[in-house]
């Protein structure tokens, strides 16, 4: 009995100790946070510690690739001296990240992220949405455009988009379409908008969501999906190697090699354009100093030769918009996506 009591006391002591340790941890954390905010108010000092850029998608995916290019050029050209790290944050097609960012990091000048129209879609769609949209961030700059593509395996029977859509019309629910984001998100819309325009029933398209663009590519290559919706930069290597056939690109005109033989949607007789920009955002309550810093740096960056070379190497189209222009674009696109989702009964009303 006494023995038990003693051991109980020991356990309690350890618990008290651990709680104490934990409390210490919290104290130092608050201290660090306080430093960060006070540092932000002195314009000349920002950034005085490493800056994290979040890619709200799987590692090696389109956002990750884009951010690694941006941070590499910013540091190679000497525009930004401070260390920059890229951190992939997968899950829920970006909603996981957004829920966290818009609630916990609203003042963190040292945490920026890159996004695409996904940011708007996640806020506007009916299922699996997040209550947070672009208004819960500080748009800093749009940098470039990537184009949606629809691809099939190299040995697929389909050689053009019409024959694929025709087959899907005649045999609904037979073919599956893989994408690297949640239903209703970007990859899904890349396929749905032209399919909808062609007269396919949106509800009967079998869309299989994977955790990222490399996983969805694996599914196509391994024959576990019949078609793939993705973006040009994520599939170019596989097209060049002859592993896949790209049926159409969602671009105003044909893209350079290796896409020179791929028709645009318009050439395929489908009139639906859905441009996919990539832009940098900061937290909602970003200090003016930090916003100014990144606006200037990014504006300088897009003028560099290194950036031009990178755009060409990755197959991206230049699409620079400064903070005000970007916000205007976001407002316009929010309207267009709402309309598109409404027509498919997928809007959040």
């Amino acid at each position: 009995m006494v023995k038990n009591l003693k051991s109980g006391i020991m356990v309690m002591l350890v618990l008290v100790l651990t709680v104490f340790l934990a409390a210490c941890g919290s104290g130092s954390n608050e201290g660090a946070a306080g430093e960060a905010t006070s540092g932000g108010s002195e314009a000349s000092n920002y950034p005085e510690k490493p800056v994290t850029f979040i890619a709200p998608s799987g590692a090696g995916g389109a956002f990750d690739t884009a951010l690694r290019s941006v941070t590499k050029i910013l540091s190679d050209t000497g525009l930004v001296e401070q260390q920059m790290t890229v951190e992939p944050k997968p899950g829920g097609g970006g909603t996981v990240f957004m829920s966290e960012y818009a609630t916990q990091d609203t003042k963190d000048d040292y945490k920026l992220f890159l996004s695409s129209p996904t940011l708007l879609i996640n806020n506007l769609k009916k299922e699996a949405n997040t209550p947070y949209g672009y208004k819960d961030t500080t748009p800093i700059a749009a940098l470039f455009q990537d184009y949606g593509v629809i691809a099939v395996g190299a040995d697929s029977e389909f050689d053009d988009l019409q024959s694929l859509f025709e087959h899907m019309k005649a045999n609904p629910s037979e073919l599956s379409v893989a994408g690297g984001s949640a239903p209703g998100a970007l990859d899904h819309l890349t396929f749905l908008i032209p399919a909808n325009e062609y007269g396919l029933d949106a509800a009967k398209i079998k869309y299989i969501p994977y955790d990222g663009k490399s996983e969805s590519m694996t599914a196509l290559l391994g024959g576990n999906a019949d078609a793939l919706a993705s973006v040009a930069s994520s599939v170019s290597e596989f097209l060049e190697a002859g592993k896949i056939k790209v049926l159409a690109v969602d671009a105003p005109e044909r893209l350079p090699a290796p896409f020179e033989d791929v028709p645009t949607l318009k050439e395929s007789g489908i009139d639906a354009e859905f441009a996919i920009w990539r832009g940098i955002f900061g937290p909602k309550e970003m200090t003016p100093e930090a916003k100014e810093f990144w606006s200037t740096k990014l504006e300088e960056m897009v003028e560099t030769e290194e950036w031009q070379a990178e755009l060409e190497a990755k197959g991206w189209e230049p699409f620079y918009k400064n903070s005000e222009e970007f916000e205007q674009l976001l407002a316009d696109q929010e309207q267009r996506i709402t309309d598109a989702l409404k027509s498919m009964g997928m809007a959040n009303e």
Binding site: A22, T103, A128, N129, S214, E215, N224, K243
Partner: protein, 513 residues
């Protein structure tokens, strides 16, 4: 032999003094990173990327890419070597792949056999690393085709098989093991569902949106739980930890371990090539296989050297295998390889189907440097074992607070939230209560790791088939795995019946005498 030509060129690249130095630097950092729980191979590699890029700044892009990937790969497999140390010495798994090493490794340490456990895991890791490399060189292309043909159906079957191996992790009671597995699976559903994005069991707390971190649970259950147990049961009074008798394994140890290492290497390599499956499943599989083929099952969980040798070989072989989808397809199979892919992309070297044609220097230089790196690790680690093993001889009054500090530091370094520290404490108490009531902890961790993979692949398969369950019987590979699962689960019962018959027969013979 074209392959050998390329390999020779690769060795020429890897033997440049600069690259040798990078490999050495990489494996040293990797080992230290592996020893500290919390900083796993993933964060180790991520933290080093900016450093490598500035060191290699003066080189041509191709050379810089080669040198930095050599160093980062060194960190990766170095961490796999080092990761076993804390599992064996203080029952604290640093990453998911070394959870199963705690089961027998820590028991061996308690019996004063920490030296043998550490050295056999280094030797096993070395052989596995070399075997995986040979596999990588000669089988990369055919295996990458096999790896991508693994779809949702096959993954579902593989994970079901993985869960069936829980029988191998069970202590005395199978039912308790199953309860723990289901608890692990249930915990894994917390967070935003990645298929539909719906929040489950999050109670509108954003902290729960990304789910419950595996590391917090594992460190809490194993390390904190063990500390509480030591205190509560007053183990420390008797100076429970014996002196370390020896560093090198005995001849018998080597003989006992050779087959587990071989089996673990092969198993680990093949599971490693599957994107997403990875080192943790490989180590769990290997443990269960060793236990089931062993004649003396009672030894497992009480310090069987086979239970250390097999899984340690398996997780190292898996890290070699996981380079196949990365290099040949541009598909990262694990968090760490994803970050390595990011590093290559920084130098505009795109891993993928064209890597070996476009950048042979990078690809073959990396492969050749891994031979050298593995050898360096073995040479480095043997003397270090003596140092590590001393940790065990630290008096508990110093050791226990150190373990607590490392556990808290490790979890906070990864999650940076107070929530996880409270969760850590709760898991520690839970771990103590569960293990003192004979509930095995490893099945819970296994459930937590496999849960999301099982669920997502199961649902993807059913979406493809429009809800028809027959899809799971439509793939030969999946059917084979389901049959193995059934045999695995049924075999103990069948053996029991057979054994009974045997005894009866013998008794019959006796009576006839």
């Amino acid at each position: 032999m074209e392959v050998l030509d390329f390999l020779a060129q690769g060795f020429a690249t890897a033997f440049q003094w600069r690259n040798l130095l990078f490999a050495l630097f990489g494996v040293i950092i990797g080992t230290s990173v592996g020893v500290l729980p919390g900083i796993g191979p993933m964060s180790g590699v991520a933290l080093l990327i900016p450093i490598t890029s500035s060191i290699t700044g003066g080189l041509s892009p191709e050379e810089a890419a080669t040198s930095s990937i050599i160093m980062l790969a060194g960190v990766y497999y170095g961490a796999m070597y080092g990761g076993s140390a804390t599992s064996i010495l203080i029952n604290t798994p640093g990453e998911s792949a070394s959870v199963v090493t705690t089961l027998d490794g820590y028991q061996m340490a308690k019996q004063g056999r920490a030296g043998e456990a550490l050295s056999i895991s280094a030797i096993g890791s070395f052989f596995a690393g070399i075997m995986a490399l040979i596999g990588l060189i000669f089988l990369a292309q055919p295996l990458s085709d096999l790896a991508i043909s693994f779809g949702p159906v096959e993954y579902t079957a593989l994970i079901v098989l993985g869960l069936a191996t829980v029988s191998g992790l069970a202590g005395k009671s199978m039912i308790k093991a199953l309860i723990m597995t289901v608890a692990g699976l249930s915990l894994s559903t917390v967070g935003v569902d990645t298929i539909t994005g719906v929040a489950r069991f999050t109670f509108n707390q954003p902290i729960l949106y990304s789910g419950i971190e595996f590391l917090t649970i594992a460190v809490g259950l194993f390390a904190i739980g063990e500390v509480l147990k030591t205190i509560a049961e007053r183990d420390y009074i008797h100076g429970n930890l014996q002196k370390i008798n020896r560093i090198l394994p005995t001849k018998k140890d080597l003989k006992d371990s050779s087959m587990p290492i071989l089996r673990g290497s092969i198993l680990g390599f093949f599971i490693g090539i599957l994107p997403g499956a990875g080192a943790s499943i490989a180590s769990f599989f290997s443990y269960s296989v060793e236990k089931s083929v062993s004649k003396d099952k009672g030894q497992f969980g009480a310090g069987a050297i086979q239970g250390v040798a097999g899984p340690e070989a398996a997780n190292n072989a898996a890290s070699g295998g996981s380079l196949i989808p990365l290099l040949t397809l541009g598909i990262p199979g694990s968090g760490t390889t994803a970050i390595m892919m990011g590093a290559l992309l920084m130098y505009n070297v795109q891993p993928g189907p064209l890597l070996f044609d476009k950048h042979p220097q990078v690809a073959w230089g990396l492969i050749a440097s891994m031979f050298i790196g593995n050898l360096l690790l073995l040479i480095l680690n043997m003397p270090l074992i003596r140092v590590f093993a001393k940790i065990i001889a630290t008096p508990p009054k110093y050791l226990l607070p150190i373990i607590l500090a490392i556990a808290f530091f490790g979890v906070y370094a990864v999650q940076v939230t107070m929530f996880d520290l409270f969760l850590l404490i709760a898991c520690g108490v839970l771990g103590y209560l569960l293990s003192s009531n004979d509930f095995p902890l490893a099945p819970l961790v296994l459930g937590l790791i496999l849960g999301p993979m099982l669920e997502n692949n199961f649902r993807r398969a059913l979406t493809i088939s429009n809800g028809d369950y027959m899809i799971f019987l439509g793939s030969t590979m999946a059917v084979v795995m389901f049959i193995i699962t059934i045999l695995w689960l049924a075999s103990p019962a069948v053996f029991k019946v057979l054994a009974k018959n045997n005894i009866l027969n013998k008794e019959d013979i006796h009576t006839e005498d």
